[in-house]
Symmetry: C2
Subunit: 344 residues, 2 copies
């Protein structure tokens, strides 16, 4: 016999196997309590009826959800897509299901998503929040739902968080250009109030301290896209050749690509006359007209690490151990390609 909704329940399995529902439950959750023979009978019944455990009911009674909620700003952004992949991979392996939501950088969407997650009693949340709404996260945590902040300043000391070390990334790119013998450098990108922009610039300055005789020209852009990269090229071309930088650090790859196009169009050869390093190592960087050196961020690893921190926090909460919040910064890596190499 089956339930009114046509779905098979444990009761049906129990009946067919000639045992009580308690025993069926034990077969699933504590198989070693059940006699081999009985277990086989129950398993056969499950197989025969095609029964699938109702996770909803399990969760209601057992009280521990096996879902994780994840909020990202934009799943169509390759950066977040990779972060999601990394996190998802880890969590599925641990037996969790993942709810994913786009916030579109809108606060109300963010709120709605967190509401959904709360209603579903997710076991934890990975939160790539746009700026301000950390209080919401705090409220979640207060209700016993651990939250890990993704790609955020670890400033909020009462959360675990993972982020990228943009200062180190800026330093890497700039140090590489210096090591290639360049002394007139430029950094292009903006706007300056983005933490990423600020940190990468800071890293550049940091690297420059090792070469006091070098100069750094800062060109600010309003956006980090191809069009602004082209404009930056024009800016450079206006300079008299002897003042013109011989190497440029572009704060992301789109800028770098725009720059490359602008320079090439004007007949300036890359890297012979101007070397370029980008940032992000988007998949197209390697395929640009001149393969682009770039600072690679371990995106999938970032996601996986965030998931791991969340998992750890959940684990400690369950065993009511003490949990120390950790803010991890991952270090980016420089990928050198043709656009910044002096030919020998």
């Amino acid at each position: 016999m089956v339930g009114r909704r046509g779905s098979v329940s444990m009761k049906d399995v129990a009946a067919l196997a000639g045992v009580s529902v308690g025993t069926v439950s034990n077969v699933l959750n504590s198989p070693d309590l059940v006699a081999e023979q009985t277990r086989l009978r129950v398993e056969a019944a499950i197989e025969k009826l095609g029964w699938v455990r109702n996770e909803t009911a399990r969760q209601l009674r057992a009280g521990d959800s096996r879902s994780i909620g994840m909020v990202v700003m934009d799943i169509a952004n390759p950066f977040f897509a990779d972060v999601v992949r990394g996190a998802e991979e880890f969590l599925y392996q641990k037996g969790y299901s993942v709810y994913i939501g786009n916030s579109d950088q809108r606060l109300d969407r963010e709120a709605t998503l967190l509401d959904h997650f709360q209603q579903h009693r997710v076991r934890g949340v990975l939160f790539a929040s746009i700026g301000a709404s950390v209080e919401r996260a705090a409220r979640l945590r207060q209700r016993g739902i651990p939250v890990v902040l993704v790609d955020r300043a670890a400033g909020a000391a009462d959360f675990c968080s993972v982020g990228m070390d943009d200062i180190e990334g800026g330093r890497l790119a700039t140090a590489h250009l210096l090591s290639q013998g360049h002394r007139r450098l430029a950094v292009i990108g903006g706007p300056g109030d983005l933490t990423q922009v600020r940190d990468r610039r800071r890293g550049a300055n940091f690297a420059l301290q090792a070469a006091p005789e070098a100069s750094l020209l800062v060109i600010s852009t309003e956006l980090l896209d191809v069009a602004w990269g082209r404009r930056a090229a024009d800016d450079l071309l206006l300079l008299p050749e002897r003042e013109r930088p011989t190497a440029v650090f572009a704060l992301n790859d789109l800028l770098a690509i725009g720059l490359l196009q602008g320079l090439t169009l004007a007949g300036v050869r890359v890297p012979e006359e101007i070397a370029i390093v980008g940032y992000d190592d988007i998949s197209f960087a390697a395929a640009a007209a001149v393969p682009l050196s770039s600072v690679r961020q371990p995106r999938a690893e970032l996601g996986a690490l965030a998931a791991e921190l969340l998992f750890e926090e959940i684990r400690t909460a369950e065993s009511s151990e003490h949990h120390e919040h950790r803010g991890v910064r991952m270090t980016p890596e420089l990928v050198v390609r043709q656009s910044s190499l002096i030919k020998s």
Copy 2:
């Protein structure tokens, strides 16, 4: 008082408002059955306790889930990322939550994901399956879970499905090149057993019927990536100039970009000597060294439409109306840019 797990339940709300739990439930689900004054008291209690409905329990009792499962091959692929966005947007608006899973084109992952979804008793599934495993989908449907196939041949008549009209896309691209006066054409891409490849080529041939004097050279590649595009460029360059095609239809943008690079490196000007049209209109197409004409697929719309079909199937199932499965093909659109324009 609150439950042992620290979470507030309807019972607590009822106690504080001085009513029964039944009334609290009515406030939520049938407010018009409740006297205004009582309603306000209950709402105040909810607010004060910060109660959030336990969706898990609701679903168990009410029997209707408000989650949708979605399987994609690779969320990091921009194509699917956009499809997901479109679907998610629609479903959230309808009050559904969305579980997302990457299959990585692996059958076992696909199976695991569908298992999870089944355990969570999702209300429906959006399934971008890699080839063969339609039987799994069939089993789901058989258990009352509607499934809509995404980006699949609508061949399986017993499912709703959405896909792209690749034949039309191929026709569009080729007709455009013909209209620009080209008569020696080439189509590059492969492998030939991908439906997408086959259909786009078929569309190209279809367009050619309108210009019997034109010729079409087919260059096959093993993959649809930049490297193979470069090789195809070499192939073209081996031809004596008077036999060489003056226009190329590349079956995706990565090929087109590789081709563009190969030709440019060899000093062949695009579009003056060889015109190029790509496919997919990836975000980089517009930013290539020569902005690339391309066939754009309405990716987000594809996702939204899939979601809509699923929603519709769910609705009819609930009202036990008859449901006619629909296979929808969306038509792509040609975006003309510099790479295929004769300068005048």
